[in-house]
């Protein structure tokens, strides 16, 4: 067997092979991004429904009764249906947006180009990975239309609620089974993807592309793949055990003597805590699967607009590796309230605080990179700065939550909701926006509008702070999460603040229409993009916009330097990684 499979597959013929069942990593990457776009719109609408209900619990929402006659009779959401909406919002956002867009989407498109390869190492596995992800998404969304609707056990699917079947409430019958099947499929797809990313990074780098010369985004995708390879391999069997509990009568996660809906459950011997351990062993690394590609994207984009090399490139990569390693040692901090031994809680608290060290160093490296720089305030640069801002805002509350004594009070409140939406949700979304504005010229060959982009940034930036900052205050005031309404209890004085958050959420959501309009309009009406509109150095800017089928037109680039040559390091404003491209002095 030869040392390397050079896959010179010819460009496909026909619409189906070119645009639908394509083996080309660029098409598959765009398919992942399209899927994420559909998923993020779905997830956002679900969050609006929840917010509307929280702010005006008795006002009917027009049309909702059609979607769920039982869950929203007369258009008013029941407490159970509220939980269903929350479950679907969390599952769709975490799995099908935050994992698929920054990792599978942009990773698929740009990892092979950034290492100078023609395609992924296993194009067929790559295609399978996308289609399995799509099926997983359809299976999940099907839960809206079957039986009693979607499950209500949250994106974490805590047992025994998730394990006992339809006695546990509406949606816990077919809906919860569909959830478990969907996530099992998703795990398979992401395992195939991770295997492909790692092999491509290690085996298909072009001449001169040593590990130290890889762009930071490539490093982040590579490290994320390594995390995913282990994390999804643990969630998959956990979901299969959950399915067995639900359909085959086993009791892995169901203890003895459980009476639900006046019926003694025919199970004994299982442990709900076992599910929490298996889930969070996946779940915490998953947080980093969502955010590390953002780290890489920001580290890749910031120097381009700062016109300065990234500060401490090796430290950056060391920090990413350290975060990846530590991400496996902290899962118990999600379980401080599970009744675990306080001694174990301390054991999980220490690495949780330790992991903030590399995360802080990374942030300081970004800030150090822009220190003294003449920043070019383009839209992608603004989203990078926004990323740093929301990551710090959300990260600082992480210091509080890492301590079991404080977390015991805050864990069940909106403080945690505000924390993880900032640090994992909004930060990752800002990474996705930065990547979209930065790479759209390369992917579609046309520039997006800067004016609209800046409007989009400022409205979104102000909007997310209005949505999530007050949640910290709500949490400190004792506002519990996962409740569908606060009409007649001690939380009634909080309702005006909830109304403010709801209005801000609708406003921020509406601002995303600017982004959608810009994205669609630029594909047809945008000015033609040059090969290297941002004067960046990495290999994707050495090829045409958009790149040809084999990425480099049959001439694989030869890499002569790292991606960090900005700011007159060797007499020029910047130096491309591949010498074959136009010299920097042509500027």
């Amino acid at each position: 067997m030869s040392q390397t499979q050079a896959h010179h597959h010819a460009p496909p013929k026909g619409f189906l092979r070119t645009h639908v069942f394509s083996l080309d990593h660029k098409v598959i990457g765009k398919q992942y991004l399209d899927l994420a776009l559909v998923a993020v719109c779905t997830g956002m609408v679900l969050s609006w429904l929840m917010r509307l209900h929280l702010a005006w619990p008795e006002t009917p929402i027009p049309g909702l009764e059609k979607l769920s006659p039982n869950g929203a009779a007369g258009g008013v959401i029941t407490p159970e249906y509220y939980l269903s909406l929350m479950t679907m919002h969390g599952t769709i956002m975490v799995f099908f947006v935050l994992t698929t867009a920054p990792f599978a989407g942009f990773g698929n498109y740009f990892l092979p180009i950034q290492v100078g390869a023609e395609d992924m190492a296993f194009p067929r596995i790559n295609m399978t990975s996308f289609w399995v992800t799509l099926v997983a998404f359809l299976v999940l969304v099907a839960a809206f239309f079957v039986g009693d609707g979607p499950p209500l056990s949250g994106w974490t699917a805590y047992a025994p609620l998730s394990a006992v079947g339809k006695d546990a409430g509406p949606g816990q019958g077919v809906g919860q089974t569909l959830w478990a099947v969907s996530i099992t499929l998703f795990c398979v797809a992401q395992l195939l993807g991770a295997l492909n990313f790692i092999t491509t990074t290690l085996d298909l780098r072009t001449k001169g592309m040593s590990l130290a010369r890889m762009p930071y985004s490539t490093w982040a995708w590579f490290i994320t793949s390594v995390i995913g390879l282990i994390a999804f391999a643990v969630l998959m069997p956990a979901c299969i055990l959950l399915i067995l509990d639900r359909v085959a009568g086993t009791s892995f996660f169901i203890p003895a003597g459980l009476v639900i809906s006046d019926r003694l459950q025919p199970h004994a011997g299982g442990s709900p805590l076992l599910w929490q351990h298996l889930f969070w062993f996946f779940g915490h690394p998953e947080v980093y699967i969502a955010i590390l590609p953002g780290f890489g994207i920001i580290s890749h984009i910031l120097p381009v607009f700062a016109r300065k090399p990234l500060l401490g490139p090796r430290v950056m990569i060391a920090c990413l590796v350290a975060i990846a390693f530590l991400s496996y040692t902290v899962w118990g901090h999600h379980m401080f309230l599970s009744g675990m031994n306080p001694f174990s809680a301390t054991l999980f608290s220490v690495p949780t605080l330790v992991i903030t060290i590399p995360a802080t160093i990374v942030t300081l490296l970004w800030i150090g990179t822009i220190y003294g720089a003449k920043l070019r305030f383009t839209t992608p640069a603004l989203f990078c700065l926004g990323f740093v801002s929301v990551f710090v805002s959300g990260g600082i509350s992480g210091f509080f939550l890492a301590q079991p004594s404080i977390d015991t009070y805050l864990h069940g409140t909106y403080f945690v909701v505000g924390h993880f939406h900032f640090v994992m949700g909004v930060a990752a979304m800002f990474g996705i926006f930065a990547a979209t504005y930065f790479w759209a010229p390369k992917m579609f060959g046309r520039m997006m509008s800067e004016t609209l982009g800046k409007w989009h940034f400022w409205l979104t930036f102000i909007g997310v702070y209005c949505v999530f900052m007050p949640m910290h205050y709500l949490g400190l005031a004792g506002n519990v999460r996962r409740y569908s309404a606060f009409t007649d209890d001690y939380l009634k004085p909080m309702i005006p603040l909830h109304r403010f958050i709801t209005i801000a959420a609708l406003f921020t959501g509406a601002a995303q229409l600017i982004f959608l309009f810009n994205l669609i309009r630029s594909r047809f009406r945008g000015p033609k993009a040059p090969d290297n509109p941002w004067e960046a150095t990495s290999l994707e800017w050495s090829t045409t916009s958009p790149p040809p089928f084999d990425n480099f037109g049959g001439r694989p680039p030869i890499v002569e330097r790292g991606p960090n040559e900005y700011g007159g390091a060797r007499g020029a404003d910047y130096l491309m990684q591949a010498a074959a491209a136009a010299p920097a002095s042509a500027r």
Partner: protein
């Protein structure tokens, strides 16, 4: 395109990564087993030396031998002795089938005695059946898939469609399945001897 800087072909690296993920999967299942075993004071110890452990020892010997014949298959394939390689692959497949047959015979005997995924005829924790069939079932699935893959590779190798590299990559998987059994046998069988 340049040769791989690590000198490891993509397909082989892919197999190693699959094995890494699969090891995590088995690790998770065995962790769950240990967790549930400790959590249930009424854990059952049903296995007698004869027939279960004797049968298990025979199965272990058969599977270990199949790894040995796999080594021979890879060695002969790499030397270019195609027909010898095909013969050794055939012996490996045969041993895999014997292992699966012994395993299934044991399963059917236990099912006949009333063991189910959710039922323990000896009155102890019902999780014994769930973990036993779950873990050995996952391993058996790997053995059956392995036999099928070796079959496909053998046919292709004889016709020249596959080379010694394919045989070696398949062998990696087969040795891993063997290695997993070396964890399953003591943890699931020997620790549950009456």
């Amino acid at each position: 395109m340049e040769g791989s800087p690590y000198g490891i072909p993509s397909r082989k690296l892919g197999m190693w990564l699959f094995i890494t993920a699969d090891a995590a999967t088995f690790g998770a299942i065995l962790f769950a087993y240990g967790y549930l075993r400790l959590a249930n004071p009424d854990w059952t110890h049903p296995f007698a030396f004869s027939p279960t452990i004797v049968n298990g020892i025979v199965m272990t010997v058969v599977l270990l031998t199949s790894s040995l014949t796999m080594v021979a298959a890879v060695a002969t394939a790499q030397l270019g002795r195609t027909s010898a390689g095909v013969r050794w692959l055939g012996v490996t497949m045969l041993l895999g089938i014997v292992f699966a047959a012994l395993h299934l015979r044991e399963w059917f005997a236990m099912i006949g005695a009333g063991w189910r995924l959710f039922q323990n005829p000896m009155g102890g924790s019902p999780l014994f059946g769930a973990t036993f069939f779950g873990i050995t079932g996952l391993h058996l699935l790997h053995v059956v898939c392995g036999v099928i893959v070796i079959g496909v590779i053998t046919l292709g190798f004889r016709r020249g469609r596959f080379d010694a590299g394919h045989v070696e990559t398949t062998a990696l998987y087969w040795h891993f399945v063997d290695l997993v059994w070396m964890f399953v046998f003591p943890l699931v069988y020997l620790m549950n001897v009456r």
